[in-house]
Subunit: 444 residues, 2 copies
């Protein structure tokens, strides 16, 4: 096995499950191994304690006038349950069919270590990097980065940089280099409708008072028009119109045709906002989703109860330039004004995240495209992501810097699931990608 | 204590909880006590075994040419949980504040034994009854009378009668004699909507496929117009129009004003079909109630999932002359034709019960009114009930006979709940009621 794969296997053997307090020593050992690896590369390495798992920062000797690039990654991993579905030990990596099988292979150890080894290769062959580099590696990404924002705030000066690169997103298909330049934001709430003081007998009282479960259905139905458009007043006001180049580009992106969405989801049919493709709906259009609805009898068979209350958990995926606070204000107004008679409504506001977009045709965007082209010897596709990556917005808010998303995760990487895997060729492409990226970003 | 109360206390001390297999011996002992009581009255008594709890039948010596009256009751009771909410032992009856406190005090031992003791009184004072009497007492009413229909069918000839009387319903207020002449029917179903093959990440897929929880809300909302009327095509076709005398009568019935419904339910406001009072809505208008709705995340906080499926449990209370099968056909047609795109629907039909109505101004109805007037020394009110009592329809179907509902249960009797109680005066009125009823029914 070559030294790069040996390093990755060593890194993958740490059971650095951040959510599991019984694994805290493994997380720590993993951070220590990482520090040792970075020190062996003659980088300046700091291990910063946090209330839970440490942050590792490493940098080369910075030179005035050079561009400063931060590369972010995380060395913690998701739990492995259910263990019996794994075909091999999640912490004993194996290569089968050209892929590395282990927890963290793709998310994020494989992608992250590719950047480390790319830097090692530059230093070995050229003696120095073309940029001032800051590696920022945390051990709490899989538990929501609870201590990262405070760390960034406390170390804002030391972490000042021109651009950030992350490889922790997807590539649309094998061999298709993918630059992510946008993320959806989110805002969440829960509404509870309360009617009678207790569950009522539907025979003795049915017809005389509002049924909160029927009322929640009517309220939820009011959120959408029949054709799928969201019916909240002003909801689309700040939505940035898709640009022609995006629609044209996305129509050619492999793996995200309507037929692909149909196959991957297993839904009986696609359904969404009219006049958009599935990719456009997911990447560039906002949603109002019911994450949970409940009320009344939940068991088998029937129970003729008129429930005292019913709830709905809603989340709204947002796109540029929607503002979570503004949207939640409109959502609350809608819910309150559409609440059916005979019940009281109580709305609880959940978590928020701003949508994100950066210009893939900016200087840094073009550098990322050039690096992807060089690493994969293919023309990159430019996409947005339907999900939210809160740290990207945190970086912009605290450090004032944009992030390039150079994803290496394949759709079948099984991240967060049994049998996570990472193709050896993606790992090797990642090492090349890092070298090309730093070279491109170092150019004037 | 007078002998009548002593009998009732003995009867109440049996923990005849029919649903609890550990109490089967108590149910049996209760039936045996009942048989002994009836035999001591020189009635001809039969204890009929069923697969679970026995049926007790008792009759006087029938005389050709006399009217035959069946009086039905049940000697089984509901469970007593939660026991710690009782102010006294549910199976050690006590009298406090003029009420008898015990499980079964109202439902149904108190009401049922009043009829037994009324008959005893007639026999003691007059030597014979003015009618041919059949007492039919079962031990499975609280578990849905699973063996009663078969028993009625097998003994149809022996149980032939002209009219049936039951005291197992409510009286609207203390001192207000109440004749029930109608019951709502019911038909139930469950609809499940299925979308993606598994729960999806609402970021990665939200917007591209239908959300089954949003779809179930839209489907349920389609069942009603905003004003509360049911929107199913043809749903009201066979609904019998309320007669003027009913509306006039019900407007004067104490305890069922809109303000009473508001107070009893504790709802923030009344809501229902326009142009009807609460009592009219509950007693004489059909409903479409959501008994349960569910789908997606049910725990605390938020989880950004797009659920694979969602369900709704529906029940429809029916009024004369709606037919459960016909209504369920219309419901299914509605659900299928209103099912939103992008999900599949699966409908499961639950249990049915026909609505019931009898003429309170018929010969037997007038006899019941006269008996109530005599027993309470007050003018009786004529009401329907919002609930369903399946045995009443079973009697009509198998024996071809109508049932008079002479309820003695007060609104605060706490049936099926802790601290069940029955006023001593209602018990004594029930004994008088029986005597007056048999006298009236015995008249030509």
């Amino acid at each position: 096995m070559n030294p790069a794969l040996e390093d990755l296997f060593s890194f993958l053997r740490f059971a650095s499950v951040s959510t599991d307090s019984n694994r805290a020593m493994d997380v720590r050992a993993c951070a220590d191994w990482l520090c040792a690896k970075l020190r062996a590369m003659k980088l300046d390495v700091e291990l910063h304690e946090t209330p839970r798992h440490p942050v590792v920062v490493a940098r080369n000797a910075h030179v005035a006038g050079r561009r400063t690039v931060m590369i972010y990654g995380h060395y913690d991993v998701q739990p492995v349950d259910p263990l019996d579905l794994w075909h091999s030990d999640p912490f004993q990596p194996e290569i089968r069919d050209g892929r590395i099988w282990a927890r963290g292979a793709t998310d994020n150890k494989g992608q992250m270590l590719a950047h480390v080894l790319g830097v090692e290769e530059i230093l070995r062959t050229q003696g120095e990097l073309p940029v001032n580099l800051i590696f920022l590696f945390e051990g709490e990404e899989e538990i929501g980065s609870p201590n990262l924002a405070a760390f960034l705030t406390e170390n804002r000066d030391a972490l000042r940089c021109d651009v950030i690169a992350i490889s922790d997103t997807g590539m649309v298909a094998p061999g298709v280099p993918t630059l992510g330049y946008g993320l959806r934001g989110i805002t969440c709430c829960e509404a509870i409708l309360r009617g009678p003081k207790g569950d009522l007998h539907s025979g003795l009282f049915g017809g005389a008072v509002a049924n909160p479960a029927a009322a929640i259905a009517r309220l939820v139905a009011s959120l959408h028009h029949a054709d799928g458009r969201i019916a909240i007043d002003g909801f689309y006001d700040d939505v940035r119109t898709l640009e022609n180049w995006e629609r044209e580009m996305w129509s050619r992106v492999p793996g995200v045709a309507d037929s692909d969405f149909l196959k991957v989801t297993g839904s009986p049919g696609l359904f969404g906002e009219p006049a958009y493709t599935s990719a456009e709906r997911v990447w560039a259009r906002p949603t109002a989703e019911v994450n949970g609805i409940g009320g009344g009898y939940q068991g088998e068979g029937s129970k003729t109860v008129l429930p005292a209350a019913a709830f709905v958990k809603l989340s709204f995926r947002l796109v540029p330039d929607q503002d979570p606070a503004n949207i939640m204000h409109k959502v609350k107004q809608h819910l309150e004004s559409h609440c059916p008679p005979g019940v009281n409504i109580e709305i609880t506001h959940g978590h928020d995240g701003k949508p994100y977009i950066t210009d893939p045709h900016s200087r840094f965007g073009k550098a990322a495209q050039a690096a992807l082209r060089a690493a994969f010897n293919a023309e990159p596709v430019l996409i947005r992501e339907g999900g939210s990556i809160p740290i990207v917005q945190t970086f912009r808010d605290i450090l004032g810097v944009d992030t390039l998303l150079l994803g290496l995760a394949l759709p079948d990487a099984q991240i967060h699931a049994p049998n996570e895997n990472f193709p050896v060729e993606n790992f090797e492409a990642g090492i090349r990608l890092n070298q090309a990226l730093l070279k491109e970003l170092g150019k004037d």
